[in-house]
Symmetry: C2
Subunit: 238 residues, 2 copies
């Protein structure tokens, strides 16, 4: 029954810096690996619509280009390796099944890059969705293990691809939990989230606490089924 | 990158019943095991203030009575076994360390009762809080394993004990994720949450998906440290 305010059990380390003072990220090129999937395409669309330069990555360059052309807004398509090489920030939106293999193959291209993992390792059976348990603890920690020279963060887990892709929806009414080891990196991710109207990036801990954020999607799927909704999350009191 | 609306991967089973049609629970007696701790006391206070009959349970009857007298509002105190026996609904708010032992000893008294586990198994070190991994998967699943004759649910994980206990705060601005196997049981828990002004109970899946809900408290503690807040959660679009 540890309450949420049990922070007194750990040393206070909050820097004096205003946590809402975030960098200007408008000039960064955003790559989306797995950008032809629903979630990747939805994120690509929202960032492009917000004025960000976006490159969709796919295993097949032609599929990436087709998806990019469909989105318009200056979005480009490229094979995954080129997408990674040309981007400043790379969102990993591939299916969990191909996650490790895809990242391992891109280690060099992703070196030095800010990587944002948004993969949710889930299984499905007749009772619905459930959390898978990656050996490394989470998809994000797997990415960090496979990409020692990248700046790995995790975010954008709790979004509805349906809402992201619907052009009639102006605002994405949700907070984005951002996890990572370095404040400079999580600040960039939070700033990127804030580019999308209605969306806000909230720092929510280190990568070792990514598993529960990733697998909470199983719960949101239960919410969606019960309430026929596209559920998201807001963090209160911040 | 499974998006939150991937419900299509599982068979649709949503009953036609309005998910917000909840039973009248105003006559139920609410017991709080571990009611002398911060979280338990805070919950006892909120339910008593909402007009619910509340019994605080503790290993020591005199400590329970002292806590009950401090709260007023007709709250009673009793040794854990008596608290369980006299209550219709029993909230488990004991420290994780004593969770299994406490419940095992109360198996008979909790037989047939609706049990609401709100325990968050967390560890703390100099980097803050992190999720522990109970052998059964979660505190709630441990409770279900130890209490085969009880109706075990899980809820009330993401609340700030500071806010719950502050009498100047009229509304608790947060949703409560409610997990369980039987709709009749989770409906009661949702109705109970709704007794507290500002609070809303939202069904969020089966007990096998309790671990991420319990351990998300580690993330909320990170939020609290960064933003000097008492963070809670709201589910959007429901």
């Amino acid at each position: 029954m540890t309450s949420t305010d049990s922070a007194q059990n750990a040393p206070a380390k909050t820097p004096a810096k205003d946590p809402w003072e975030l960098p200007d990220v408008s000039g960064l090129i955003v790559g989306v690996l797995g950008g032809t999937g629903d979630q990747g395409r939805g994120l690509a669309y929202r960032f492009a619509r917000a004025g960000q330069k976006v490159i969709i990555g796919s295993r097949a360059a032609d599929r990436a280009r087709t998806a990019a052309d469909e989105l318009g807004l200056g979005v480009e398509g490229a094979e995954n390796a080129e997408c990674a090489r040309r981007s400043d920030v790379v969102i990993v939106a591939v299916p969990w099944e191909g996650h490790g293999k895809t990242l391992e193959a891109l280690r060099e291209e992703l070196s030095g890059k800010l990587v944002i993992d948004c993969v949710n390792p889930l299984g499905f059976d007749k009772q619905g969705a459930y959390a898978l348990k990656p050996e490394e603890g989470s998809a994000a920690e797997q990415a960090a293990a496979l990409l020692p020279d990248s700046r790995v963060t995790a975010a954008f887990h709790h979004l509805s691809a349906v809402l992201l892709q619907n052009p009639d929806i102006e605002e994405i009414d949700t907070d984005v939990m951002v996890l990572g080891e370095k404040r400079a990196d999580t600040d960039v991710v939070q700033a990127l989230a804030a580019r999308v109207p209605g969306m806000r990036g909230v720092f929510a801990g280190r990568l070792r606490n990514a598993h529960q954020v990733e697998s909470l999607v199983a719960n949101l799927i239960s919410v969606n089924r019960r309430y026929k909704a596209h559920a998201g999350l807001r963090v209160t009191d911040v």
